[in-house]
């Protein structure tokens, strides 16, 4: 069986990569193929990485407060590429009032501080698209 392929990306100008790295390791230990993009990736770079890697899932780690700019842009780029079946997740410091806005643009899961790694693994397994 093909392993799930996950792109973990760190958009925004900040360098707080602890969460991204912990999640990347946890998903890898859960049997997924994890590609970590590194810091300060633009939405264009993330979509291009996801396309090249044939990703099933994109996980964005955002702690800078720029989620309202980054997520809509990323979602529209995915759509333009016909990749809107890729499961997109956001983790980080997201004010409560912004969570519905992220769901509205198509982000399926928003994970706030304190979320167990297992909850994210379970969410991916139950929401990822079925592949031929």
């Amino acid at each position: 069986m093909r392993k799930l392929r996950v792109v973990i990306a760190k958009p925004g100008l900040d360098g707080h990569d602890r969460g991204a790295k912990v999640i990347a390791r946890a998903l890898r230990d859960a049997g997924m193929e994890v590609i970590y993009t590194g810091l300060r990736q633009t939405p264009e770079q993330i979509v291009s990485a996801a396309l090249q890697e044939d990703a099933d899932v994109i996980g964005l780690s955002i702690l800078s407060g720029a989620h309202n700019h980054i997520a809509p842009k990323l979602m529209s780029l995915l759509k333009a590429q016909g990749m809107d079946d890729v499961l997109v997740l956001v983790g980080g410091i997201i004010p409560d009032v912004d969570v519905p806005k992220l769901h509205e643009v198509g982000v399926k899961g928003v994970f706030l501080p304190g979320t167990p790694m297992q909850a994210i693994i379970d969410f991916i397994n139950s929401h990822v698209r079925a592949r031929a």
Partner: protein, 554 residues
């Protein structure tokens, strides 16, 4: 220990402990600190056997300063209550500073937004959505003037958390002082200026490590001559710990960074005792109370010995490790946020009992957003309760001689020195960073802790135990896009009103200095006076030195 020696401890174990354990077993087979460091059940005089009261512990104010750098501790002078703050426009932050000073704060601490930290102007593509969000936006001297409007730089001390563009931001501060008529020789404060921990943990770097180190040594040399009371660097373990390091890793990597700066300063031709006394440190105060106290005590002892023995420093001010402490942001939880007040109080107490020179206490809402004014005030009040009600300030180093704390201090020291040996073996900290060594050690430790939390071997109240289904929401600060709009307008006006030829000339002079060996501070100061923007100044050096990209490893 000889086979015949039946010590008090052994008798106690046999006659008192074992029957007690039979009746009531302990909660766990082994105990460790939050860093995973093993802790024994009991510490006794035997644990102090390897330590010399005179050489290793000594009295406060005496080498190696394990018990503190001041003979009278806080009975003489309390720590500085320095609350880190900044958001939105310079004008908004200026108002917050005036409120903090009016509430009894004794020093300012500037938080800059991400574009500023990364040396980008508000109108750069990468600044989209980030202007004024995590701190105050400072794009030019005009913004720095607004930030300190009505605040006498001769009467306060200011700490500025700025690293990759530290030289440029510091130059802006100096020019504000100059225009207030305050002598540079009289002003005091700190620039963080610690680029090594950016590569290790915080990741807000611009240039490759080696030219970045030159910018740091240029500020050392400049301040030694022109701004003698300024703390030229705050070598920071805070971010290393926040990125997931253990207490020993925080201690080891921070002090080894300090050694690297001293080494580079010496190699640049500076006399050790001319610049080392202006180096200060910045540590985290995490949740494991005794481990933190031991860490601070060990830090002082290690630094004193390294400065005297490795670098031959003769001035005792070079031996004394002074440090700022901030409670652990990473320990704050979004769940049941009021619990954070308690965590912060305990962490702050460890910093005080560890002998910190200044302290920032986090606000209860910081796992959710930047703090509200009410939350920031409560955090300051926490320090005031410790300082004026708890009585812990009236005697020096109350844990000195504690079997446990002295043993743990020794273990912290040994752990740090073992890391020094590994880093020295690869050629120093810049070389170790280029190999990703500290970065990987921290990522490993961070993952181990997260696994321990998920297995519930470590408890986080309100997160993996004592969970409440519904939290009562607390008010949070929401930084909207108005700050960005205001900063963009200010920047447009600035670019339209300044002398462009003077700006271009100053930027060219910076590039020429970067290509050669002259100290960069004078041309940076000239560019600041010409109202060159931060982005323009940083770009001038990007053209000469290029930008750093780290290897992305997990």
């Amino acid at each position: 220990m000889g086979a015949t020696a039946d010590t008090d401890r052994m008798r106690w174990q046999r006659e008192t402990l074992e029957p007690a354990l039979t009746k009531a077993p302990e909660r766990a087979a082994t105990f460790t600190t939050i860093s995973g460091h093993p802790i024994h059940r009991l510490y006794t005089p035997e644990d102090l056997a390897a330590l010399s009261a005179e050489a290793d512990i000594a009295e406060p104010g005496r080498f190696p300063y394990t018990r503190g750098i001041h003979a009278s501790g806080y009975a003489g002078k309390l720590w500085t209550m320095r609350q880190f703050a900044g958001f939105g426009t310079p004008q908004e932050t200026n108002a917050r500073y005036k409120a903090l000073l009016a509430a009894g704060g004794t020093g300012l601490s500037v938080a800059f937004d991400l574009p500023t930290l990364m040396g980008r102007d508000p109108d750069h593509d990468l600044s989209l959505g980030e202007v004024g969000k995590c701190g105050v936006s400072i794009a030019s001297l005009a913004d720095m003037e607004a930030l300190f409007e009505g605040i006498d730089l001769g009467a306060i001390t200011t700490s500025m958390t700025i690293n990759a563009p530290a030289a440029m931001i510091f130059a802006m501060y100096l020019v504000v002082a100059e225009r207030q008529g305050v002598d540079w020789r009289q002003i005091s404060g700190t620039i963080q200026n610690d680029i090594l921990k950016e590569y290790i943990a915080q990741k807000e770097f611009i240039y490759p490590p080696r030219p970045s180190m030159r910018l740091v040594t240029d500020t050392f040399a400049f301040c030694t001559r022109e701004v003698p009371r300024w703390n030229t660097i705050s070598v920071s373990g805070y971010h290393i710990r926040e990125a997931g390091a253990t207490a020993i890793q925080e201690l080891a990597f921070t002090l080894r960074d300090g050694i690297e700066y001293v080494q580079w300063g010496v190699e640049a031709g500076l006399d050790v005792d001319a610049f080392v006394p202006r180096i200060s440190f910045f540590f985290n105060a995490h949740s494991d109370f005794f481990e933190e106290i031991a860490k601070y005590r060990a830090a002082r002892r290690i630094w004193a010995r390294v400065m005297r023995d490795r670098f031959g420093a003769k001035d005792e001010r070079s031996w004394k490790l002074r440090f700022h402490t901030q409670t652990a942001g990473v320990s704050l939880t979004a769940q049941q946020p009021w619990n954070n007040v308690v965590r912060t109080a305990i962490q702050a107490l460890s910093g005080v009992l560890g002998g910190t020179q200044s302290l920032h206490t986090n606000s209860l809402d910081e796992a959710l957003a930047l703090p509200t004014e009410e939350a920031a005030t409560l955090a300051l009040r926490t320090q005031q309760v410790l300082a004026f009600e708890s009585g812990v300030t009236d005697h020096v180093d109350p844990f000195g001689g504690s079997y446990f704390v002295e043993a743990l201090t020794r273990e912290m020291e040994e752990g740090a020195i073992a890391y020094f040996d590994q880093i020295d073996a690869v050629g120093g900290m810049v070389a170790a960073i280029e190999r990703g060594f500290p970065q990987n050690e921290i990522a490993e430790a961070s993952y181990r802790l997260q696994q321990a939390i998920e297995r519930r071997e470590k408890t986080i109240v309100g997160v993996n135990d004592f969970v409440q289904r519904e939290d009562t929401p607390i008010p949070t600060l929401y930084v909207d896009e108005q700050a960005a709009a205001a900063q963009l307008a200010r920047l447009r006006d600035l670019r339209a009103s300044r002398d462009q030829a003077r700006v271009r000339g100053a930027l060219d002079a910076m590039k020429a200095a970067a290509e050669g060996r002259d100290n960069l501070m004078p041309p940076i100061l000239e560019a600041v006076r010409a109202y060159a923007t931060l982005g323009e100044m940083c770009d001038a050096l990007r053209e000469v030195w290029g930008e750093y990209e780290e290897m992305a490893v997990i």
